[in-house]
């Protein structure tokens, strides 16, 4: 299984709906400073509910909505494929600004879902906040800088 496509709409610096295809194997993402590379990684963490808004460099969730246009919603969809070309799983998350704050909706295989249901499904495939498969910019030495107890807890999660 691997990520076959990410559909980003109005999330951070992606003002226009953007589909990014991915293949198996080893892909690098490159471009000038400030061009939006880390925002792609942030979009995966946001969509799969693997991190809080604070770690996405946004104080509040609505800072994740693109500021270049008046639309007050943003969404990210991550599609997985199991190598045969067929899509076998997709997760989508949408946030919308409302007068009372904002709403966050999750979709599993295009049907309304909850974060818990999505986390259950993802952990069947070994995708969980604790398995360190996503490393944000500047985070690489964090495993060394955390306390010995927190480091042990990584093994607790996996066991």
């Amino acid at each position: 299984m691997h990520i076959s496509k990410i559909e980003i709409d109005n999330f951070k610096s992606f003002a226009n709906p953007t589909d990014i295809p991915f293949l198996q194997g080893f892909t690098t993402v490159s471009g000038p400073n400030g061009s939006g590379k880390s925002n792609i990684i942030d979009s995966i963490l946001f969509c799969l509910g693997l991190s809080s808004s604070k770690t996405l460099r946004a104080d509040r969730l609505f800072h994740l909505i693109n500021t270049h246009n008046k639309k007050n919603e943003a969404s990210v969809k991550v599609c997985f494929s199991n190598g045969t070309g067929q899509e076998n799983l997709s997760v989508k998350r949408k946030i919308k600004k409302t007068s009372a704050g904002f709403i966050s909706n999750y979709y599993l295989n295009d049907k309304t879902s909850t974060l818990n249901e999505i986390h259950d499904e993802l952990s069947k495939h070994n995708i969980s906040p604790g398995c360190y498969n996503v490393m944000m910019q500047g985070d690489v030495t964090s495993i060394i800088n955390i306390s010995a107890t927190e480091r042990r807890k990584i093994i607790d999660e996996i066991a």
Binding site: H2, I3, T27, G31, I143, A148, R151
Partner: protein, 151 residues
């Protein structure tokens, strides 16, 4: 509970020794602070890059910390593979030689898992199967400029 913790710890430690040696030519291992009752103590890492004495984790350099941390992540990956790995500039502290070593390790692992790696450094970009370019030509809107295939 303790039994399954100990099994997991043993496997990850075995993996870590192999991978740390591959990345930095030295000896390394992960160590329980409390061997009798693991859940009462923490987990530390003893790492000894080539030709050096055992170092305290805190006094390691930026590059040494990066390689040690990455060896730990790959040791977990071998034990419990995730379908994809997304790394954002994990090579930023590395010198030329260590960037190449890491790029080759990722390349060799990429046959069992997908790797999406943001990088500004040549060794990483040249080792990849393909590069996705991003740009913000006009007024701060990100565009994906296409995928360049390698070799």
């Amino acid at each position: 509970k303790i039994k399954s913790f100990r099994e997991t710890y043993d496997q990850i430690n075995t993996n870590f020794k192999v991978i740390f040696n591959q990345l930095s030519d030295g000896e390394g291992r992960i160590v329980l602070e409390n061997d009798i009752n693991p859940l009462a103590g923490g987990l530390t890492i003893e790492a000894q890059p080539r030709d050096k004495k055992m170092q305290r984790l805190e006094s390691m350099s930026g590059g040494e910390k990066s390689l040690t941390a990455l060896a730990f992540v790959f040791a977990i990956q071998r034990h419990m593979p995730a379908p994809f790995y997304a790394f954002d500039e994990v090579d930023m502290h590395l010198d030329g030689i260590n960037s190449e070593k890491l790029a080759h390790l990722i390349k060799s692992q990429s046959s069992n898992a997908q790797f999406i790696v943001v990088s500004l450094r040549k060794p990483m970009i040249e080792a990849a199967d393909r590069t996705i370019g991003v740009t913000q030509k006009n007024s701060g809107i990100t565009k994906v400029t296409g995928v360049r295939l390698h070799g």
